[in-house]
């Protein structure tokens, strides 16, 4: 088999294999039947940006790598090629739910991969759970989802509680170096923004920060400049946007344009995208972001993963959830190799095992990965450095933020 | 039936009729509104077309100027201007051949000035130089428009609007001017003024097809007339003759 196959060629080969298996039933039947893995991602709509950067490329990269090795190792069956069955959910939650129902009941896929984003996962997780499909979400930040108590759902990212605690601790640490007190928080009116805001606000108050502004804005917002102007007028020294990619870019562009340059400028999803760095060039310097990962982290396979991503897509993975997406695939691959495609047994295996991944060790405690702490990253000279917590840091933070360039 | 043509008129009908309509049938949706209608307009005359509301007068004018839109369709029949077929042409081509139509309700451009309204009348048909001459001529005929040239058409009184509509049509230097209910809604003094204007226009060499509900004055002014009822021509004759016709007297003059 060729070392690299695009999906279409692969389907032809796989199809030919099925035909051959029908003609010669005794010849290698098992390895010709593909493992069918289903998912939806938003190819259109507001979620498409994140889905197209963080999840899609990694799904396809992983399948290519697995098939190049001769297929996914399924315990007791040898290697079987992987076939992806995927659809565009158009950033519509109800569409995603319907499509996941279809993937399970009509397409009868062997395994599921999750869609992009907190709200999407929140909606489809109960469906997967009902049918006993393990779902390991790489782009989920929600305690509410955890409270739904879905045993088949797993989250690898640090959740709002630990992510926001890390941010608050980091701010307290910075305050010990220079006077920062006035904080403005804006959040996207989506489950992601709502939960992170709810987790952050009490921590800020507890720490004695003066919250001068706390407002939400809608998903797909066009303009934040008025809001930024009034935040600037209120003298905010710390600006926190619990944002999604398009609005992270928007808030940064407009903060720069209205000359709002707080000592701490923190954006959420999208800050860690290489696109952010390429878009803002020197102005990206010193911008903080939620979560962090870069190829310098000391975990096995991290650098290899980074290089493979660049080779396949001619673009770098994002510096946060891309690697976590890849880690979920590593986990799935290991589980299937150890226990086969029996989904109940995969679940037991996920519950009981510590995995070694490109983002470090992952271990699930009642579905949550508590082995990865909340982190803060910062763009420094073109790399998104891990700056908090100290024991994970790849560089010291730059503070206060330099002026926009 | 013979027709008396006013003496000293620049055109005679020796070259045949100016406009000839033969066997025209038009429908609105599936409902016929004109039945086998034939008439002629002779060069230089004032022809009055009278009849009750809904008799088909306005429809006929719309058909003649090619305003076939909505559900109005021509089923059969011929329309010839100096022997040339007009049926099936669009309004722009019909205008280019010299038929001007002052429609019911005037259809002025209310947000445009008097001058802009007039200019639009002339711009399709005339070269720039002719347009200026034409404008001068219209201002001479209708001095009131010269005084009001900067005013928006929508702010003119009803009578002034009617004069502007006629002036705009004259800008096209038509051979045939079709007027649909020019006296509708006007005070008696203005009605007289409009009829006087129609007479002057004909004197200037323009043939006039006049549709009116003001039957008495229309027939008094016209050389000839047709009476339309339910989409058919029921009477035709010289204006004076028609005024004396018992049927006309009974139905339209309330005598």
């Amino acid at each position: 088999m060729a070392t690299t196959l695009d999906r279409r060629t692969f389907l032809k080969v796989a199809g030919g294999g099925v035909a051959a298996a029908a003609l010669f039933p005794r010849i290698g039947r098992a390895q010709a039947t593909p493992v069918r893995i289903g998912f939806t991602l938003s190819a259109t709509g507001p979620y498409s940006v994140g889905a197209g950067i963080t999840q899609g490329p990694n799904y396809h990269l992983w399948v290519e790598q697995v098939n190049a090795k001769g297929g996914l190792l399924v315990r007791g069956q040898g290697r079987r090629p992987v076939q992806l069955i995927h659809h565009d959910d158009r950033s519509e939650i109800e569409t995603a739910v319907r499509l996941y129902e279809k993937l399970i009941t009509e397409d009868k896929v062997d395994l599921l991969l999750p869609p992009w984003g907190t709200a999407m996962n929140f909606a489809v997780a109960p469906v997967a759970n009902k049918h006993g499909y393990p779902l390991i979400g790489p782009t989920v930040g929600s305690m509410k989802l955890y409270e739904l108590n879905l045993p088949y759902f797993y989250a690898v990212l640090a959740q709002p509680d630990s992510m926001m605690r890390a941010l608050a601790e980091f701010l307290k640490d910075l305050r010990s170096q220079a006077r920062i007190n006035k904080v403005a928080v804006i959040h996207v009116a989506d489950l992601f923004g709502l939960e992170h805001q709810a987790a952050l606000m009490p921590l800020l108050r507890e720490a004695g920060f003066d919250v001068v502004e706390a407002k939400s804005y809608p998903l797909g917002v066009k303009d934040l400049s008025d809001l930024l102007k009034s935040i600037k007028a209120k003298g905010a020294e710390v600006f926190i946007a619990l944002s999604y990619p398009p609005d992270t870019i928007l808030a940064t562009t407009q903060a720069k344009a209205v000359d709002f340059n707080p000592a701490v400028f923190y954006g959420a999803v999208g800050t860690a995208f290489p696109f952010f760095r390429d878009r803002f060039k020197a102005s990206a310097e010193g911008v903080f972001g939620i979560g962090a990962w870069n190829p310098k982290v000391p975990y096995p396979g991290a650098k290899e993963y980074f290089d493979a991503h660049v080779r396949k897509w001619q673009k770098e993975p994002d510096r946060w959830a891309s690697a976590f997406t890849y880690a979920t695939l590593q986990i799935l691959e290991q589980a299937v190799g150890q226990v086969s495609l029996d989904r109940a047994r995969i679940k037991s295996y996920l519950d009981a095992t510590e995995f070694s991944t490109v983002v470090g060790p992952i271990r699930f405690t009642r579905g949550l990965n508590r082995a990865t702490p909340g982190m803060v990253g910062q763009w420094q000279k073109g790399e998104f450095e891990v700056v908090w917590p100290r024991d994970r840091a790849t560089a010291r933070p730059i503070f206060p933020k330099p002026a926009w360039q | 039936m013979s027709v008396g043509v006013a003496a000293g008129q620049p055109l005679t009908d020796s070259a045949g009729p100016l406009l000839e309509v033969g066997g025209l049938q038009a429908e609105y949706g599936d409902i016929p509104v004109l039945w086998d209608l034939s008439l002629t307009v002779r060069a230089g005359e004032i022809l009055a077309l009278v009849g009750a509301n809904g008799a088909g007068k306005t429809t006929l004018l719309r058909v003649l100027s090619g305003l076939l839109e909505g559900f109005l369709k021509v089923r059969r029949g011929t329309i010839r201007l100096r022997g040339q077929a007009l049926k099936g042409l669009d309004p722009a081509e019909i205008v280019a051949r010299g038929i001007a139509h002052v429609p019911e309700g005037r259809h002025l451009f209310p947000g445009l000035t008097v001058l802009e309204n007039l200019k639009l009348g002339g711009y399709m048909r005339l070269a720039r130089a002719d347009r200026r001459a034409s404008l001068e001529q219209v201002f001479e005929t209708l001095p009131l428009l010269r005084d009001r040239w900067r005013q928006l058409a929508g702010t003119l009184s009803g009578g002034e609007q009617q004069l502007l509509a006629i002036g705009r049509a004259l800008m096209q230097r038509p051979t045939l001017l079709m007027l649909d209910e020019p006296s509708l809604g006007l005070a008696p003094r203005l009605v007289a003024m409009v009829f006087e204007l129609v007479g002057r226009i004909r004197a200037g060499g323009v043939t006039v097809l006049l549709v009116e509900q003001n039957v008495r004055q229309a027939l008094a002014l016209a050389d000839r007339g047709y009476v339309l009822e339910a989409g058919r021509i029921v009477l035709e004759g010289r204006g004076g003759e028609l005024l004396e016709h018992p049927k006309v007297k009974r139905a339209y003059l309330g005598l």
């Binding site: - | 839109e69 909505g70 429609p103 802009e116 705009r168 096209q172």
Partner: protein, 302 residues
Amino acid sequence: MNVALLLDVAAGGLLMGGLYALIAVGLNLQYGLMRVLNVAHGEFLMIGGYLTYMLHVHLGVNPLVSILVSGPVVFAGGMGIHALLFRGLLRLKRTQEELEANSLLISFGLLFILQNAALLLWSADIKGYQYLDRPLHVLGAVFPTNRVVAFGVAAMVTALLFVFLKGTLAGTTVRALMQDPVGARLMGVKVPRVHGLCFGLGVGLAAVTGSLVSMLFELTPFIGLPYTITALVVVILGGLGSVTGSLLGGLILGVLESLGVHFTAPDLRMVISYGVLALILVLRPYGLFNPLAPRPGQASQA
């Protein structure tokens, strides 16, 4: 209350309002003139934005100069689309309602085609560039330089449009056709030709707006529809068929949105737009500045 900040916010709204006005004038040229409700109007804005993005990022063309390309290219494309899709529709129309319904369907199709074409050409990734994104300090207030420049260009383009509409016979014809189609036809106006011209002009203006928008905001293939909705609100606010109305309506909506968002939250921006729309429909259904609106006591013409 901080008066300086309020003025600052209002001025910011005015700057956005200039762009609203431009795109709304474009829509009004189509809807006001021929009752073709082009819901794909915003897609032409999106295309204009991408054209400028490509010219600037790949060929180094100044975004302002790129307007000289995006406007004419989309203008020509718009004339073509009109000839292809809408001309027959206008010829076959029997009632105004039928035309509006059919044009709505066709332009919805157009919307999906253009959006998906953009998706294929440029992918769903957000695209943007930095241009004049420095702050400009004016009388103690601060504005993004690119917004001030965009507003200036929008004002210039609008002024040119006004010169065309008011100063040339072709422009007068357009206004005449808007005000009274029957009257215009009787003057010998070649209606399909003027419609094609106006459709092209309308989407061309959308493209110019898009070029300006690309200096301020990131592009995705999906940015169009919200602008179409805003434009529709402005057209109704200012009055169907009233170019001046669209201009003033755009500025008013821009300021109202900014102040509204300032006092509430960005969540409510669309609510404010729709609120303005609802209010206008109830209080002045013909719009604020429509010269064609029937005055009290005046009978409507058949």
